[in-house]
Symmetry: C2
Subunit: 260 residues, 2 copies
Amino acid sequence: MDVSPDNMPDNDVKTRKPRAPNSPPISGRATATGRAARNSEIVYRDLRDDIMNVALAPGAPILEKEVTERYGISRTPVREAILRLAEERLVNVFPKSGTFVSRIPVSELREAIVARKALEEVCVREATAKASKSRLMELRAIVQREQELAENGDEHAFHDADNAFHSGIAAAAGYPGIWTMIEKIRIQVERYRRLTLPQKGRMQLVVSEHSAVLDAIETGDGDAAVAAMMSHLNKLQIDIGTFQELWPDYFLFDEQRTQP
Amino acid sequence: MDVSPDNMPDNDVKTRKPRAPNSPPISGRATATGRAARNSEIVYRDLRDDIMNVALAPGAPILEKEVTERYGISRTPVREAILRLAEERLVNVFPKSGTFVSRIPVSELREAIVARKALEEVCVREATAKASKSRLMELRAIVQREQELAENGDEHAFHDADNAFHSGIAAAAGYPGIWTMIEKIRIQVERYRRLTLPQKGRMQLVVSEHSAVLDAIETGDGDAAVAAMMSHLNKLQIDIGTFQELWPDYFLFDEQRTQP
DNA sequence: GTAAAATATCTTGTATACTAGTTATACAAA
DNA sequence: TTTGTATAACTAGTATACAAGATATTTTAC
């Protein structure tokens, strides 16, 4: 375009240059931390967590003004947070009307599970091929931690450890970016999972399944590792019908996308 | 939280209710078109396209003010557009300093290609299993169109048709949402592809590869279809080293993520 | 002449005022 | 009582003003 900052020879006249920002993002830059303590980030995380925990139920309204007053900040950062949520399809913004927590779209849910399985399969296969001993020890430690948390019944911490296990496999495979993608997909599935989670003995089952996956990885049997992981992830596909009865208006069955 | 709009019995006193927004996003809603003509959307798409076309080169600064004046709008919608780009890692925002088009991170690039292959594999396999005759005819028409565009040398239209083919396969598989995910991944790869695209005879090669994929789908051979698709997508993995020489500062080699 | 400090000016982040559109409510008429 | 309409209140989108920090330039000391 007509920006042309460092293409033009700017060394002929020194005093006239109106301070074109000729500081591109240099590699080893100290201030590359970027958005660390931005208010919109805090609001975003809080709202996202509330939505994922179903503390904010699907269909519930989100009032900019209420959030504004709760945090004691202005509309601008709140609005940024809501826009991020809208992109992730966690909320629906109706232009001059209101913002609401989105309902769980079952068709997307199905696809999200399929996509996650595809990505986790790649990760676990690659992890089997090239995981270092230390990585395996880390993963085993996570499984052990899960065991302890399951015994204590600490659901929240167990949930974190669960994530750490899957994240660790992606890291062992050398695919941290793919784990980022899985996490984005997981956001969609998480609300559904939170509704179905409080089943007795579920944590113990997860521990044994994780352990089986790790066993296969350690023996270097890629196919077995993939099979164990698929078996594990298939547990997500409990039939949605039963939960449809419990929370009828939490789910959305037709397609009707809001943004093309 | 303390919103509680339609949970409270609001039918006792009629005149005092301060218009709590008791209109959740009803399913069959007419105004569900949502963001149609929003300025931030226009700016976002234009900037994104410019970045993907490498018209805005990696490292180039993006000045809110310049965009503001170009579109004749205020900073707010421009800012929203830039924030969306920042989430997709197409730009880097340095808080009180400036915004720059991000460099192409080669490690993420590698992972993006792996992820795309995993997702496309699922799509093409499922499409082979359950594509209707009409879907197959549509896909064949797209391939034919690609052939014609390749002969005419219309690179831009060919690019669209290319996307339509992959999108069509996802649709045939019943996974339109997965295509959305692939598109998000594709954004990252697209810039690299645009740099490597102008190779002679590339379009003709793509046509034949697409045709091979479709042949396998039509015969119902899932494994062959997957193999053909993988062979097609592997073409993306040309060694990056050669292009590193041509555009040394377009790529980023170390990790250094900006947002945790 | 060199280097360091001061200053000017740019950048993005935030707050607030205003606009335009939507929905609920009140009210009137049948 | 029901139905249509007017109005009032609330919504998100936008514009603009201000604040805080960073970089480039200028100035000053030596």
